[in-house]
Symmetry: C2
Subunit: 338 residues, 2 copies
């Protein structure tokens, strides 16, 4: 398999990304080529500095970069040769099987939608964010690709989340919940009520409505919601975790005794930080497009890129897009005709 | 002023609630009567056990209780003499100026909507949850009264949040943000786009779209959203804070050194817990109804009830409903006629 990586879009420069790719190549022998897309001079210099000897790297030059501040669609129109567009074209033309970009999330979604289109039977792709719960991870989707998600889209997200959880995260019989404001069937809005009806008859472990209090425990594997709500949950919770860790730090440095205690407990704090570190997961797959697309954090570390590649390889190995097309076709057949 | 308190609806029994009321009476001399609504025998026994000598308590008997498991509207229809309904009737008939209930949130919203109706110019009430940020609090509304909030409702929430922040929380020139998926004007869904247009011309410090990453900092005083999203944010963040504190505890008890450190840092952990304790705030006002209604947590402590009473007294002292009616009338005049 070949994987194209846009190494220019991230906040931390291409060397951090390439370092992660080198680690991933060591682990994943099934990768034939990693196409490193970006400024060829910068890439060559990074490969030299990192003492790369792996011949499976191929440099593909791209003269421009879609920055974090660029508006997705407008930016892609203006910067036709940006690394993201060039990498996406490699997937479109079949030269690559997958793309990873630690760049502008809206840009990746737009480029994938425009160049790859959606899978048969699916109208809108969804971002599957992978978040930690007590002893495992759970998937939240859509985390922001489709802010006006409709019931049919959410049904597709449930199907895709189920398949991703099984095939890539290795979860047996994933529990799927629909984000609502209470667990009773009567709770929710028009969107969740109709989605509930559509999901009930399907062939997966659907537990119905859930609420915010059900998150971050081990009771759920896939949480389905529209892109607006998913994005708000993801960002609010990222922010709260950061703020709480900051408050803890403040309190621990507020007195001599606390400071001494904090020194002794350093290992515990490091473990906690590691537990909630998004780099453990590496990236969020964009599900539902005709290709395998992973969006990494803008500030992704080498570890994040390594993990993003490993998950991408799993997705390709398990041919999840074929599984998604089949499951969606079956579900679409059951949709009420209007 | 007179305040009716439903002391039966909470999870912790009426004595905890009455204890909080006794503390509040000591502080708030402007209260003429607190009508304690519930089972008169239980209430009398609690007052005896707490050695009450304050003559401003008045017991109002109610034979039933709307439990946390009762469906709001159905429960209120079946249990006509529940403490919540009896307390709400005291406000309706003018015998009381305000009501506080630590009970079934949906029940309080339904009873208020049915018995008190909304203020002139307002279609839907909203719950204003008060959450901690670094050095102060901020308001999130609607936190779940109105899951299908429309642009006009959200505009009213912005106006009511502004007035509550000024008058009750004492914030000068509150900064008001509209919950969205990015700060740019183009970001959001149909609801936020239209709300943005409506709020822009109004006479308050409206900073436009915000996203989840802007929460819990001191940059905002009022966050406006519909009841579905507000409820999801509130519950997800409550849950994450609890889970994170649990993980921290796990990590700290994982080794001898960490355990020793944790002992020394006890004060810091207590401070952190206090910082995020919802009892500091006490209750969430239900804004937009023709009366002053405060919903306390089902598991509210004495401190929570004390704080809920203090905020209710502030709201009454500042006559915020009059201010809301005037501001909403002005804003409604500017609404586009369809």
């Amino acid at each position: 398999m070949n994987i194209a990586v846009d190494v220019m879009g991230g906040d931390r420069g291409c060397e951090v990304v390439i370092d992660g790719l080198m680690q991933a190549l060591k682990k994943c022998q099934q990768i034939e080529t990693i196409q490193i897309v970006g400024n060829e001079i910068e890439i060559s210099q990074s490969l030299d500095r990192l003492d790369n000897i792996d011949s499976r790297f191929q440099i593909v030059h791209a003269s421009e970069v879609l920055s974090m501040d660029d508006k997705p669609v407008e930016g892609l129109r203006k910067k036709k040769n940006c690394s993201l567009a060039v990498a996406m074209d490699l997937v479109k033309t079949g030269k690559s099987d997958a793309i990873i970009s630690p760049g502008n999330t809206g840009g990746v979604v737009a480029a994938a939608a425009i160049k790859l289109r959606t899978l048969s039977g699916i109208d809108r792709p969804g971002i599957a964010a992978v978040l930690p719960s007590k002893n495992k991870n759970f998937i939240l989707l859509d985390a922001g690709a489709n802010v006006e998600g409709k019931p049919k889209h959410l049904m597709h997200y449930a199907i895709m989340g189920d398949i991703y959880a099984r095939e890539v995260l290795g979860i047996t019989d994933p529990k799927i919940g629909l984000m609502s404001v209470g667990t009773e069937e009567s709770k929710g809005n028009e969107l969740t009520q109709e989605t509930l009806r559509l999901c009930k008859g399907l062939d997966f472990n659907f537990i119905g409505n859930i609420e915010g209090h059900n998150l971050f425990s081990d009771e759920l594997d896939v949480v389905v919601t529209n892109g607006f709500v998913g994005n708000v949950i993801l960002k609010s919770c990222e922010q709260l975790a950061e703020v709480l860790m900051g408050w803890l730090k403040d309190e621990l440095s507020a007195g001599l005794m606390s400071k001494a205690g904090a020194l002794l407990s350093q290992k515990a704090f490091r473990s906690l930080k590691k537990r909630i570190d998004p780099d453990n997961v590496g990236g969020a797959p964009l599900l539902g497009v005709n290709g395998t697309v992973t969006i990494a954090h803008g500030s992704a570390s080498s570890l994040a890129i390594y993990n993003a590649i490993c998950n991408t390889v799993e997705a390709l190995d398990h041919n999840i897009n074929k599984l998604i097309i089949d499951a969606v076709a079956k579900a679409n057949d059951k949709l009420p005709t209007k």
